[in-house]
C-alpha cells in the first residue's frame, strides 16, 4: 500500500485576497464513491459560497474539516482513497500532512499586484498574467469582464481555466485599476482598446472569453480583426444590440449607498443570497471614484441607452472564429430569450438556476464548458 493511493482534499485558493475559507457543509457522505469533478464540499469565502469538486476519483475516506471550521488556504479538509487502503494508512497520511503543513503567513497569501500597461498613448490598463506550467497550446486565453465589474470577477474561473492555458485578465477602461478615459463609450472604441492591449503584450491571437459587456467587446473585436481571435466564448452577452434591462443599469448607476446597490446587485444572481456585504462594498468602492462613474455613464449612454442599443443585433454567423455561448436561464439583466435564432454553428448552453453572473453562480459548469470548448472546439 503506497501513499499515492491517498489524495488529500485541501482548502482551495479562490481569488487573490483569499487567505482562508469556512466549511459550510459536506455534499458527500463518508464512504461515498467519487468521480473526478463530483461536488463534495461547500466553502464560504469573504466574497461568496462555492463548491469544491473532487480532484480525483476514489472513495471519500475521511472528513477532516467540520462545518463551521475556518481554515487557511492549503489546509487538509478530507482524504480520498484510491484502491485498497486501511484506516492506519489514512491516519498516517493525515498525521504526516498536519506535521508538515505550514499555513500561509498574513500577507503571504496575496498574489503579485496587477501590472500596468499603456496603450494608445495615454490609456493605462491594469492586467494580470497567470502562466500555465504546461500550456495545452500556444494561444493564450483572455478573460474580459462586464459592465461595472473588474478582472477579479473571474476568481472562480481562473484556477481551473489556468490549469492548462496561459491566462490573461484585464480591467477594461473606466473600470478597476485602469484609467477612466473611455472616449464616446462605444463598443468600437473599447474593442479597439482591447486590440491594442493584445498588441502591446505581443499576443497576436487569443481565445476570448467575455462576460456581458465583455462578450459584446469580444464579438466586436472578432468582427473587426478576426486574425486576433482564435475562438469566442460569449457569456450573457452577444455583441452590439444585446438586449439588456435598462432599469437595472439606471439603478446601478444611481446607487451611491450600500442598500440600493445591494438590491441592484441581487438581480445579477438567480440566488440573491450570494451577494455578500463584502461584494457590495468592493463594487461601491469602485463606483465611488468620480471618473469611474463618468466612464460608466458614458458606456451606458452609448451601449445601453444610445445608438448601440438601437442597432440591430450583431450577425454572429459572419464570424470566422469558433463560437460558444453560455447563458443563465434566470438572467434578469440580459434575458435568455434572445438566444433563440442564433447560428446553428454556435455551441449554445443554457444553464438552469443561474442568473447573469452565470460564471460565478455555476462556475463549475461554465469552467467545464470553456475547457471542453477550448480542447475540442464547438
Amino acid at each position: 500500500m503506497s501513499e499515492n493511493t491517498l489524495v488529500g482534499i485541501t482548502m482551495p485558493k479562490w481569488g487573490m485576497a483569499m487567505a482562508s475559507g469556512k466549511i459550510v457543509g459536506w455534499l458527500a457522505d463518508p464512504g461515498a464513491a467519487l468521480e473526478k469533478g463530483d461536488e463534495i464540499l461547500e466553502i464560504e469565502t469573504e466574497k461568496t459560497v462555492n463548491v469544491l469538486e473532487a480532484a480525483a476519483a476514489g472513495t471519500l475516506a475521511r472528513l477532516v474539516a467540520a462545518p463551521g471550521d475556518e481554515l487557511p488556504v492549503g489546509s487538509l479538509l478530507g482524504v480520498i482513497a484510491r484502491g485498497d487502503t486501511c484506516e492506519a494508512a489514512i491516519d498516517g497520511f493525515i498525521a504526516d500532512f498536519q506535521a508538515s503543513f505550514v499555513p500561509p503567513q498574513e500577507g503571504e497569501a496575496a498574489d503579485e499586484e496587477p501590472r500596468q500597461i499603456t496603450i494608445d498613448g495615454d490609456i493605462t490598463l491594469s492586467w494580470r498574467h497567470f502562466p500555465a506550467e504546461n500550456p495545452a497550446d500556444d494561444t493564450p486565453v483572455i478573460l474580459i469582464h462586464g459592465f461595472g465589474g473588474a478582472q477579479n470577477s473571474w476568481v472562480l474561473n481562473i484556477p481551473r481555466l489556468g490549469e492548462r492555458r496561459d491566462l490573461y485578465t484585464l480591467d477594461l477602461p473606466g473600470h478597476g485599476g485602469s484609467s477612466k478615459e473611455v472616449g464616446d463609450g462605444r463598443l468600437a472604441g473599447l474593442a479597439g482598446n482591447l486590440s491594442a492591449f493584445m498588441a502591446a503584450l505581443s499576443l497576436p491571437r487569443a481565445h476570448l472569453v467575455g462576460h456581458s459587456l465583455g462578450a459584446s467587446l469580444a464579438a466586436t473585436l472578432a468582427a473587426r480583426t478576426p486574425e486576433q481571435v482564435a475562438s469566442l466564448t460569449l457569456i450573457s452577452g452577444l455583441g452590439a444590440g444585446t438586449r439588456v434591462n435598462r432599469a437595472y443599469v439606471e439603478a446601478f448607476l444611481a446607487a451611491e449607498r450600500r442598500k440600493p446597490l445591494k438590491a441592484c446587485m441581487q438581480q445579477l444572481f438567480a440566488n440573491p443570497a450570494l451577494v455578500t456585504r463584502a461584494m457590495v462594498e468592493e463594487v461601491l468602492k469602485a463606483k465611488r471614484i468620480e471618473w469611474a462613474q463618468d466612464a460608466l455613464q458614458a458606456i451606458a449612454a452609448a451601449a445601453v441607452f444610445g445608438p448601440e442599443a438601437a442597432s440591430p443585433a450583431q450577425d454572429l454567423t459572419q464570424l470566422a472564429a469558433p463560437l460558444q455561448i453560455i447563458w443563465g436561464r434566470e438572467d434578469r439583466i440580459a434575458p435568455a430569450d434572445q438566444l433563440a435564432g442564433l447560428p446553428a454553428t454556435a455551441k449554445c448552453s443554457l444553464i438552469d438556476d443561474a442568473g447573469h453572473m452565470v460564471h460565478m453562480e455555476a462556475a463549475t459548469r461554465v469552467n467545464d464548458l470553456i475547457c471542453d470548448f477550448l480542447d475540442r472546439g464547438p
Binding site: R258, E281, K285, I289, E290
Partner: protein, 338 residues
C-alpha cells in the same frame, strides 16, 4: 491605487479639491508653515505636516497663515464661507475650540437656519482629536460628542486613510459646516487609497467586520481596538459585528439597529468620556428603538470621567484597550446565555 498614510490621504483630498474648485482655500495657524518663522514657508505644513506642499502649488492667497487667534481666523473663515468661498479652516487641536466656540456653534452652525436659507456656510473645520501622545489634558480630548450636540454642524470621525480621503472630499463639497476630526495616532496608518478623487457619503456606517454574535460600535481609532478585540474573541468562538459610524452627525442608526437585531448584544467603544458622549448617545438610541432585540444590557467601554493624564503610564490606563472590549463582549454573551 497605492498605499498611503492617513496624513497623505488628508493632504491628497485637500489638494484635489483645491485643484478642482478655486474657491477652496485653507485658513489656519501654521497651515503654510509658520509665517514669520523664517526659512522656507512650505517646509512645515502644520505641526503634523498634513498640509505640506499646498502653499507651493496654490500660493499664499489660498493657503492663508493666520496669527494665533482661533476666534479671529474662525470668524474670518465663516465670513469667507458666507461670501462665496469654500474654506478649510484648521483648528489644530480640537481642545482649542473653547476659544472660538461662539463662532462655531452660534454663528457657523446656525447661520443658514437663522437667515431662512438665504445663505450657506460651506466650511470645513479640520481638527485633531485623541489621546496617546502624552500631550496632556488640553491637547488630547475627543470633543466630537460636543460638536454632535449642535444642530447645524456635521461631524466626521474617519478611522483610516481610505475613509479620510473620501469623507474629507465630501466635507469640502458639502454646503454646511462640517467638523472633520483626525485622530493624531492614525496619521501613520497605511492603507490602499485610490489616486482619483472619490466621495464617501455622510450617514453611512462602515460595516467593518461581520460576526453575528455581538455588535461592537466603535469610533475613530477605537475601530482598531475593536478589531484587535474581535480577533481575540474569535478564538473563543465569539464572532463580532464591528460598525464604524464614520459620521456622528448624521448618525447611521439604521445600520446599528440592523446589527443589534441580529446579535441582541451591544458594546460601544468610544474614546470620548462616559458622560454625554457618543457611547451614551448610541446606547440611548438603541434602548429606545431596539430594546426588544436586546438580550443583555448595553455596555459602554469609555475612559473614566477624569481629565486626561499626561503621564504615559496613566494615559495608557485612561484609553480603552482591547482587553476591556473583550471583557465587555464576554459579559454580554454570558448575560445572554444565562
Amino acid at each position: 491605487m497605492s498605499k498611503k498614510t492617513y496624513r497623505q490621504a488628508v493632504n491628497e483630498a485637500i489638494l484635489q479639491e483645491m485643484r478642482r474648485d478655486s474657491s477652496v482655500i485653507l485658513i489656519g495657524e501654521d497651515v503654510a508653515g509658520g509665517a514669520g518663522g523664517g526659512g522656507e514657508d512650505d517646509a512645515w505644513g502644520g505641526p503634523m505636516a498634513v498640509t505640506k506642499g499646498l502653499l507651493g502649488e496654490f500660493g499664499a492667497n489660498r493657503v492663508i497663515d493666520t496669527p494665533i487667534s482661533e476666534a479671529g481666523y474662525m470668524g474670518m473663515a465663516i465670513g469667507a464661507a458666507a461670501s462665496g468661498q469654500r474654506p478649510v479652516a484648521d483648528l489644530m487641536f480640537n481642545d482649542f475650540v473653547g476659544v472660538c466656540f461662539d463662532q462655531v456653534v452660534n454663528q457657523a452652525a446656525k447661520y443658514r437656519y437663522m437667515y431662512g436659507g438665504q445663505d450657506k456656510i460651506p466650511l470645513t473645520i479640520r481638527t485633531m482629536i485623541g489621546a496617546g501622545l502624552s500631550i496632556s489634558a488640553q491637547h488630547s480630548q475627543c470633543l466630537y460628542p460636543v460638536f454632535s450636540y449642535f444642530a447645524g454642524l456635521k461631524v466626521v470621525v474617519p478611522s483610516g486613510p481610505y475613509d479620510a480621503k473620501g469623507l474629507l472630499a465630501s466635507a469640502i463639497r458639502d454646503d454646511d459646516p462640517v467638523i472633520f476630526c483626525e485622530h493624531k495616532l492614525l496619521y501613520e496608518m497605511v492603507e490602499e487609497v485610490p489616486d482619483e478623487p472619490y466621495l464617501i457619503p455622510f450617514g453611512e456606517a462602515n460595516f467593518v467586520r461581520e460576526g453575528g454574535d455581538v455588535t461592537i460600535v466603535a469610533l475613530s481609532r477605537m475601530v482598531h481596538i475593536a478589531l484587535e478585540a474581535a480577533k481575540i474573541l474569535a478564538k473563543e468562538g465569539i464572532e463580532c459585528d464591528i460598525i464604524d459610524p464614520r459620521t456622528t452627525t448624521p448618525l447611521d442608526v439604521e445600520t446599528i439597529l440592523e446589527s443589534v437585531e441580529e446579535t441582541g448584544r451591544l458594546v460601544i467603544v468610544d474614546e470620548a468620556g462616559p458622560r454625554c458622549g457618543m457611547a451614551s448617545d448610541i446606547a440611548s438610541v438603541v434602548a429606545e428603538e431596539g430594546f426588544s432585540s436586546l438580550e443583555a444590557p448595553i455596555i459602554k467601554v469609555t475612559p473614566p470621567h477624569v481629565p486626561i493624564p499626561a503621564a504615559p503610564n496613566l494615559e495608557s490606563l485612561y484609553i480603552p484597550n482591547a482587553g476591556r472590549v473583550v471583557a465587555a463582549a464576554r459579559k454580554v454573551m454570558a448575560k445572554a446565555q444565562g
